[in-house]
Amino acid sequence: MMAAAGAPEVISQLESAAKVLMAPPSMVSTEQRQHAEHIFLSFRKSKSPFAVCKHILETSKVDYVLFQAATAIMEAVVREWVLLEKNSIESLRTFLLTYVLQRPNLQKYVREQILLAVAVIVKRGSLDKSINCKSIFHEVSQLISSGNPTVQTLACSILTALLSEFSSSNKTSNIGLSMEFHGSCKRVFQEDDLRQIFVLTMEVLQEFSRRENLNAQMSSVFQRYLALANQVLSWNFLPPNLGRHYIAMFEATQNVMLKPPESWREALLDHRVMDLFFTVHRKIREDSDMAQDSLQCLAQLASMHGPIFPDESAQVTYLAHLVEGLLTMINGIEIEDSEAVGISNIISNLITTFPRSVLTAIPSELFSSFINCLTLLTCSFGRSAALEEVLDKDDMVYMEAYDKLLESWLTLVQEDEHFPRGCFVQPAVQVFNSYIQCHLAAPDGTRNLTANGVASHEEEEINELQEDDRELFSDQLASIGMLGRIAAEHCIPLLTSLLEDRVTRLHGQLQRHQQHLMAASDPDSVDRKVLDDLYEDIHWLILVSGYLLADDPQGETPLIPSEVMEYSIKHTTEVDINTTLQILGSPGEKATSIPGCNRTDSVIRLLSAVLRTSEVESRATRASLIELLSPQMGKDIVWFLRRWAKTYLLVDEKLYSQISMPLSTAFGVDTEGAQWIVGYLLEKVINNLSVWSSEPELANDTVELLVTLVEKRERANIVVQCENWWNLAKQFASRSPPLHLLSSPIQRTLMKALVLGGFANMDSDTKQQYWAEVLHPLQQRFLNLINQENFAQICQEEAVKQEIVATLEALCGIAEATQIDNVGSLFSFLMDFLSSCIGLMEVYQNAPETVNLIIEVFVEVAHKQICYLGETKSMKLYEVCLTLLQVYSKNNLGRKRLDVAAEEDQYQDLLLIMELLTNLLSKEFIDFSDTDEVFRGQEQSSGAGRSVSAADVVLFGVNIVLPLMSQDLLKFPSLCNQYYKLITFICEIFPEKIPQLPEELFKSLMFSLELGMTSMSSEISQLCLEALSPLAEQCAKTQEKDTPLFIATRHFLKLVFDMLVLQKHNTEMTVAAGEALYTLVCLHQAEYSELVETLLSSQRDAVIYQRLADAFNTLTATSTPPTMDRKQKVAFLKSLEEFVANVGGLLCVK
């Protein structure tokens, strides 16, 4: 034990080390610095450093050394807790507190560290009730009542430290205890002590709020207590009975809502509490830091819910008081920038938290004042947010506040049936108008205008990583779209007239440019400013229209929003259906030039406006004005049309209780309108694909529109009746320009769409003809090529290579088109190719980029189809994959490349192979083949002749991958993850195959596991630990000793044992390691006892020896003799947690 006698030497050693650490970098060498760091590290690990630390604290003048002494005490107390006498802990705590009290001039970081040590002691003590926590509150309240600002600050620091420690959040120190321990400490604390802290805090705030003039020192104390109040109100109250895993999840939640237990009623459900925070805010609102805290306190109060309210009327009273206070606060002031987010948080919290029934139960005048205030605030924040964008500010506070408020509107109006009818219409009109205004150019709007009305127009570089506005602002747009539906009467006609106007102007502008170009023929002479303004206007109008008219739910059939449907129905009697159809069917004409144009269905009219935009664009491309067009607008148009088509095209009347006549007449099943529009959309797609191949995003949106048109059978049925569709198919199949200019991902998706279309309803002749034109040319060209005698000689010629690459790409696209009802025919078609692809592997063994693509085809087929395949078909796929891997392996054996791309190419091959193996394995988890009838009748019961299993392919694959997996390659994170996922899967699914592996393969697999466990990220380490249990269970099952696997598991026992007992690790890992340890112990009981004995015998300290021996006894006592039994395992895991908590720290000490 380090005695106090040696203290002076220790101190001087530490002080000189501190000097080194504090010295400027130029003055000391790296070695000196490392040496100094090492001195502190080993000092903190020294055994029972309490006496020497006390001595240091009392004598040393070096702050950094004081800091380290406090840290050493904190760490040692936790580490040696079980060895320490209770009263010596108690006196240590008193010493630390007194120490701080007597030294008001301590450096802040030293003081905080000492208080942290106190808090840790209090918390650790609360577990065994050895420390009386109450006394500390008594001491603190005395400090507060002293009236001395310095002492009050100190009291606040103590409370803050306690709060951080008990919150069991990421602020809590890591003291090596389980989440369960942290959880139960927290529960005890929040019932009583936390409330006491809150009451103390409120007293201080009350006191300060009454004072007239606060000096700087006072106001800093005030600020600290305000922050403390915020911390209490933001406390994440842990509900009773929450399991360990949930605790971790629960603690990770952000934006905590205030949900105190019933015991807090008296302290919190008091109007004076809320009033106090309003008063406080009024007093300090010009100080932006403090204002943030006071507004956050109010926001937390606005989120209060749960058992604290005795009944609903208490909630109503509370809410009414809150809303009154809020309105008084907002109406009396001009909001500061720093208040915007806080105020919007209060509003958003109260709207999210309080049930609709409570919101509507407050006095109706108060409610409508609140809605008015919210409306004005939203519009004003929206305008300020637009200004922020113009000024390109880093800190977009108004944007954040605006987002919050729009989100609140969405919450409100989504359940508007609870509120008085129509009460949101006027507010919706106002918010909608202001949004549109902010997004349109002058003179209609204010886009890009600074506060004093100056236009700013900058062209910035936008890279592909930047999200499109429709995603970037999707939340805002969803809210605005929803408000637009609420006020459909106003908003739909508004959007229509604005869009029609812009389109007419765009048309005129383009015509002028064309004339100008014909005269001057210099495209650079065109001023794009006017055009760009129009494009930007149209961009936003289309986005808002898209979000207003339709939703885009993932995986569900989107419905026409009920508000839109009702709006259309309501005006049916005033509508002339023929004129409506005429407007719809003549996108090339100006809408207002059609007689009777004011008697049209407004919903259809808005779609027509977008079609008119589309038509202007298409005509401009035909007039060779592509240079002048905006690809962004092109994207917007096809994005809108896709969203629209999913919802409105072939509207299914069965899904609606009532349906609008104009909508069903125009777009219903078996209508001319639907046929016409499908034809129009198809024409648009074809035009876009041929003129916009150079714009990848636009081409992608376009081809996605095409997929939407054919992925549903009903739509596809109409599509395949169009001549254009057949032309497109033929054109693509013949690989003639311009479609072959499209980038490869687009070509794949196009292929996918063409295949999907082939499953539409056609008579059998037509169907045969279709496939003859789409798929068969692909096959024919391919076969002709590879069956040429001199194929091996010409294979590297560019034309041949391109043909091969195009075929492989197309195969990926075909695989992507797999659906449950077409997998039968697609599988057979693809299988023929897969065999030929293996031949290609031979021919192209020198062209890594082609090899890579070939493997990708296999990956795609396995990925999309394996889950649907029955036994015989799976077998076929396994076999062909196995052959692929064999050929790959043979070709790469003894091959060495040293060119630039060698490593990258190999990395990609391996990644794909592992993906392939993982896809094949996934059959073990996801298998739809038993329930479907895809192959019924074709499938013979062939289980007996089973030749290849997934395990064989996968293990063979691993055999290839393993020798190539150098440690360098494992540095690619995605490769490393995929690799370990794969080998863990294998151990879990086929543990019985592991002992049969060839020796070399077995060895490298075991080495990989060890490497992953010991020197990779914790995620990987966990994966490897998970692989161990099934392996040990496998050994137990066979009962053979001295097999290589048996010996290997013995080695792993030691590794896991050391890992758990001797090394620091996180708690998540304890679970995985614990499970592995348990099965390993069952298997090797004698070796385990030996390990324990060796460890014990190395302990020279009798006390530690005894503690350890006891701990080991309790650990295994509950499960003697250990067997592979779930109940015993669970018991073991539970005692392991305690074991780690009690002695884990002891053994980490050097």
Binding site: S694, Q796, N846
Partner: protein, 155 residues
């Protein structure tokens, strides 16, 4: 069976050492000519000037022979030259004064390729003097050739 639609007349007359391709249709891991050199594309990204601007493609390539890095940025509608890349394995017959003697498929021996510098060259030499039969992979592009790899003799 050369596709009649593909145009090979541009570039050098006769042998098609390069062919044109629209910039947007290039692919990562594919090839392109940058600053007159045959390169493997290691990075490819797009950008535009202003929200309503047209796409430009940013390419980073590595010279297949010298390992030098080249970059280029161009409108995505432009055509870029793509080099025709070939890799062939030849049996190593002998090494003479720093030159490889390689047996072609038709039985002729060519002796115009240098032993590559660095590790690969050393490995070729040591395997050769140890009497091992090896194949040498020769990369050719735009009229330039170099030995870039080896493979155990299997045929």
């Amino acid at each position: 069976m050369a596709d009649p639609d593909l145009d090979f007349t541009s570039g050098d007359a006769g042998a098609s050492v390069t062919y044109p391709q629209q910039c947007s249709a290039l692919r990562k891991n594919g090839f392109v000519v940058l600053k007159g050199r045959p390169c493997k594309i290691v990075e490819m990204s797009t950008s535009k000037t202003g929200k309503h601007g047209h796409a430009k493609v940013h390419l980073v390539g590595i010279d297949m022979f010298t390992n030098k890095k080249y970059e280029d940025i161009c409108p995505s509608t432009h055509n870029m030259d793509v080099p025709n890349i070939k890799r062939n394995d030849f049996q190593l017959v002998d090494i003479n004064e720093g030159f490889l003697s390689l047996m072609m498929d038709n039985g002729d021996v060519r002796e115009d390729l240098r032993v590559p510098e660095g590790d690969l060259g050393k490995e070729i030499e040591s395997k050769h003097s140890a009497g091992e039969d090896i194949m040498v992979t020769v990369l050719s592009a735009m009229g330039e050739e170099a030995a870039v790899g080896i493979k155990a003799f299997t045929k």
